[in-house]
């Protein structure tokens, strides 16, 4: 037993243990998603986060120690954001042909997402850091974290709110858009990408190829627009 606790305290100090466990937790989350028949509410990120948070709590490990290992995964958000330019470029023909409706929908959807979220939360008494963390919730993770940090939010809280927004969008999109009787796959996909980023886009691809492509475009364009608009929205309304 002494030997085990010695090995544990040795491993707990280095990044190897928590980096490995992060990847395993995500693999379990992904397997759960596949096993559920790709249900949007069995989200691989959510499963991994719950598993890891539980493990940290059980082993009494501080988040800073965990992050020593997980930072290598976290770091890749930067190059991944840069890489978003590739699908944006690949869909440039599609974007050019529908440029006017795209830009109108982007502006309307993006502003609605930001203003309604902070408006509702503020009306119920949410203030300060939590409100700033909520503002960029509809944009893709790496951008949302950067924006939150810039406007006085908490990147960790924002990450959770971004994931929740993605799951909500993925779950409600199909019934909501059917209820609205919108049959244009371009409109359906694009609106979901703007409102619910990558998780919404993954869902759109499950439903229809065109919707998926437009959702990817919406996610990419809203990443840029949110980064540009959020500081002004924060300045005017927070």
């Amino acid at each position: 037993m002494t030997e085990f606790s010695e090995i544990w305290s040795y491993l707990a100090q280095g990044p190897l243990l928590w980096l490995t466990i992060t990847l395993i937790a995500y693999a379990i989350g992904d397997a759960a998603f596949q096993a559920s028949g790709r249900k949007p509410f069995v989200n691989s990120v959510l499963v991994a986060v719950v598993l890891l948070a539980g493990l940290l709590w059980l082993t009494d490990t501080p988040y800073a120690t965990y992050f020593e290992g997980a930072q290598f995964v976290h770091f890749m958000l930067g190059p991944a954001t840069v890489a978003l330019a590739v699908p944006l470029w690949a869909n440039r023909g599609l974007i050019r042909r529908t440029a006017v409706p795209l830009l109108a929908s982007l502006l309307a959807g993006s502003l609605t997402a930001m203003l309604s979220a902070v408006g509702i939360a503020a009306a119920f008494g949410v203030r300060g850091e939590a409100l700033a963390s909520l503002l960029p919730k509809s944009t893709t993770a790496p951008v949302a974290l950067g924006v939150a940090e810039q406007i006085g939010g908490s990147p960790t809280l924002t990450a959770v709110l971004v994931i929740l927004t993605g799951i909500v969008g993925a779950v409600i999109a199909t019934p909501l858009l059917n209820l609205l009787r919108i049959t244009d796959w371009r409109a359906r996909g694009f609106a979901v990408g703007v409102a619910a980023h990558g998780i919404g886009t993954a869902r759109a691809f499950q439903v229809n190829e065109t919707a998926g492509a437009f959702s990817g475009v919406g996610m990419g364009l809203n990443a840029v627009l949110t980064a540009l608009l959020a500081p002004w929205v924060a300045y005017l309304f927070l």
Binding site: A80, V82, A85, T112, E129, A187
Partner: protein, 116 residues
């Protein structure tokens, strides 16, 4: 793969430097994304060259969320009081954003004659 990664990191670095030097309101990696978009428009061949790495990163984008998501552990106390209003705000705001975005797209497409 190493050269592609070096290229993405160099673009991120250039974006980071530009954003700070010009005091842009945009995070450095987003500026890097715009740089890559410009580079692809000038050198379309880069897309195929980058594809193995960019495809890998974007296919596993949700994994990159996990470490920051685990950080919620430190926020349980705050979510205790703000939890319900924040969840309500996310739910209603997402419904509104999808509704407004989709209706705007359809209306403007009809109006500008982009309709198929």
């Amino acid at each position: 793969m190493i050269r592609q990664l070096a290229a993405l990191l160099a673009l991120q670095l250039a974006g980071e430097v530009t954003a700070r030097a010009l005091h842009l309101p945009v995070p450095g990696p987003v500026v890097g994304m715009v740089f890559l978009l410009v580079a692809l428009l000038i050198l379309p061949g880069m897309a195929a060259w980058l594809n193995s790495l960019s495809g890998l990163l974007l296919a596993n984008l949700s994994l990159l969320f996990v470490p920051a998501g685990v950080g919620v552990v430190g926020h349980f106390d705050r979510l205790g009081t703000d939890g319900a209003p924040i969840l309500l705000a996310i739910l209603v705001s997402t419904v509104l954003a999808i509704t407004v975005g989709a209706i705007t797209f359809v209306a403007v497409a009809k109006w500008t004659g982009v309709d198929d």
